[in-house]
């Protein structure tokens, strides 16, 4: 469910699985206002109305009306991660977990011998 905060207009993304049949309080990631609501089969059947206290479940993600992202501790729920940090951009990798060479970084035509990376051929 998309919860647009009546106060600050932040778009709070209440992601489908945890919020499809939800009864309780969530918190706007933009301004901290607490909202009580009830959903049934994804449809909002009660609220959102302003409330007090602590949220039961945080949004999955949020963004301002101008699309600038809002996420972080106490604001949105953490993302599942495969490592301590997550960047979601191509990561150049040249040494693997046991310190050996792997061709994990972008190359230039000059670095190839046919279709093979030269540094793999020579630099092992």
């Amino acid at each position: 469910m998309l919860l647009i905060c009546a106060g600050c207009k932040t778009k709070n993304f209440l992601d489908p699985y945890p919020f499809w049949n939800f009864k309780g309080k969530t918190k706007c990631a933009g301004c901290g206002k607490i909202w009580r609501l009830e959903t049934s089969a994804g449809v909002c059947v009660a609220g959102p109305e302003a409330a007090d206290g602590k949220p039961d479940l945080l949004p999955g993600f949020a963004e301002k009306p101008d699309y600038s992202p809002i996420s972080g501790a106490e604001l949105t729920r953490p993302a599942p991660r495969a490592r301590p940090t997550s960047v979601c951009r191509p990561i150049p990798i040249q040494r693997n977990v046991r310190g050996k060479t792997v061709s994990g970084r972008p190359l230039k035509k000059e670095e190839l011998v046919g279709s093979l990376p030269r540094f793999i051929q020579e630099g092992m």
């Binding site: 499809w20 993600f61 963004e63 993302a79 977990v97």
Partner: protein, 466 residues
């Protein structure tokens, strides 16, 4: 206890070809009709069987993996003889929640069998043999002389210690293909760790850890409802047996030893888990019904259940939002205006997936599965609802293609079942019979293969060897 009356299947009649292809030009109909002439299951029994020259002894018990393997061979025409303990394979007694009323009863002997065993006991003969006895093993030795393949799943090394392992049987029949199946293997540090049933394999190979909602969604590691590691392991064993047959016929004239484990079959298909870990130490996380590598490619809740929508290509992304925009223009506008979602690769970030599926949810909440599919298919987007088994059984396309069919067993009456997917022009897979009472073929098999007399049968039955 009287069970409520169940409507006969199918509840809705199966479509006819004229109805399916109505209104199409001859040119449009040409290819699908051609396919129908060459692969419809109605023609199966006019055609030969690919493996009819092979005889397989399936000596596995308790697990699905061996029976799954021998089913593939049996569906393709091999003579499969299931060798069961005198009381029958314990797997016969499995029934959901222990409910006897869900079992199927042989109308002659009254013997009960559970649906799991029944569904896999297809095209196979059943004989009984007590391999725990010395004489039983002597009889097995005589049987393997007549077999192309034997499949067993005893604890590692047991058959070898009984004198009927690969090393001994190959002396008796050098052409024999000997296949051991299990969860984790006959050798290696875990070989003695007990655990011979699925989902042991599922838990040991990374599958369970990687399936289900992430903790951040309130989820947990999840096993399959099915003994699916056994399915994949069984099919792997079948690949091994058939390639061994090919090599024997083409080149060597000899058999070999095959080992197939449920866990390693799943490890084989856990695509990038191992390379990803080796490159930078990443441990594959659960991601529920979303995908780590493709957006939009997920199942999400909808008005009447759960809906799969797929479209990794850029083109499909815009078509999906166009469909949504027909009813929720503000949603489509927001998505199209978001620069963070402009590049295909950028859509993979978790935050972007949360936004994507939350916004898609605004449309899905108003659309039941059939409507969502109808609207998306107008834009050529692949989609479909999560179907439950009653819906699968009545789905027009599946009924038409015979994915589900009903057979009338002389023993068990009418049984609804999943048919073999081995559709072929020349040598299709087929069902010859479903279910077989324990030891039903003792007389036939022991007489024709080993020349047993009445006295033999009497003595061996008395001694509980057969």
């Amino acid at each position: 206890m009287a069970t409520p009356k169940v409507a006969p299947w199918p509840a809705v009649p199966i479509l006819k070809p004229d109805e399916v292809y109505a209104g199409l030009s001859d040119q449009a109909k040409n290819y699908p009709l051609f396919l129908e002439t060459i692969v419809r299951q109605e023609h199966n029994f006019e055609k030969p069987e690919a493996l009819s020259r092979l005889r397989v002894l399936d000596c596995t018990t308790r697990m699905m993996i061996g029976h799954w393997c021998s089913s593939q061979l049996a569906e393709l025409g091999a003579e499969v003889i299931q060798v069961e303990p005198p009381d029958g394979d314990p797997l016969r007694r499995n029934t959901p929640f222990g409910r006897r009323e869900y079992m199927f009863r042989d109308k002659d002997s009254g013997e009960e069998v559970g649906g799991q065993f029944l569904h896999e006991m297809r095209n196979k003969l059943s004989i009984t043999l007590n391999l725990e006895t010395e004489e039983g093993r002597e009889i097995l030795k005589k049987l393997v002389v007549h077999a192309d393949a034997v499949i067993e799943n005893a604890p590692p090394g047991q058959w070898d210690s009984w004198g009927i392992g690969y090393r001994q049987l190959r002396e008796l029949n050098p052409r024999l293909i000997y296949c051991w199946v299990g969860q984790r293997g006959q050798w290696g540090p875990l070989k003695d760790k007990p655990g011979m049933l699925d989902p042991v394999a599922q838990a040991s190979c990374g599958f369970v850890h990687g399936t289900g909602d992430p903790k951040e969604f309130g989820g947990q590691p999840t096993r399959s409802a099915l003994w699916m590691a056994d399915h994949v392991g069984g099919t792997s064993a079948a690949m091994g047996i058939l390639s061994a047959v090919l090599y024997r016929e083409n080149v060597s004239g000899q058999g070999q030893f095959i080992e197939a484990t449920a866990a390693e079959a799943i490890i084989r298909i856990l695509d990038y888990s191992w390379a990803w870990y080796s490159m930078d130490g990443s441990i594959r996380p659960r991601y529920g019904n979303w995908d780590l590598a493709i957006n939009i490619y997920a199942v999400n809740p909808c008005k009447d259940g759960y809906m799969m929508v797929g479209g990794g290509h850029d083109r499909l992304w815009y078509r999906i939002w166009r469909t949504v925009g027909d009813e929720q223009p503000a949603v489509e506008e927001d998505i199209l205006g978001d620069l963070h979602l402009r590049e295909v690769a950028d859509r993979l970030a978790h935050d972007m997936q949360v936004k994507t599926y939350t916004m898609l949810g605004e449309w899905l909440k108003d659309n039941p599965r059939s409507e969502a599919e109808r609207k998306l298919s107008k834009q050529q987007v692949a989609s479909g609802g999560v179907l439950y088994v009653n819906e699968v059984a009545e789905y027009p396309h599946f009924k038409y293609r015979g994915h589900v069919a009903e057979t009338e067993s002389p023993h068990y009456g009418k049984v609804l079942y999943g048919t073999t997917p081995f559709l072929q022009h020349k040598t299709p897979g087929r069902l010859k019979w479903l279910g077989r009472p324990t030891g039903y073929d003792n007389q036939d098999v022991y007489r024709r293969l080993l020349g047993f007399t009445r006295d033999d049968f009497a003595r061996l039955k008395q001694a509980k060897i057969v």
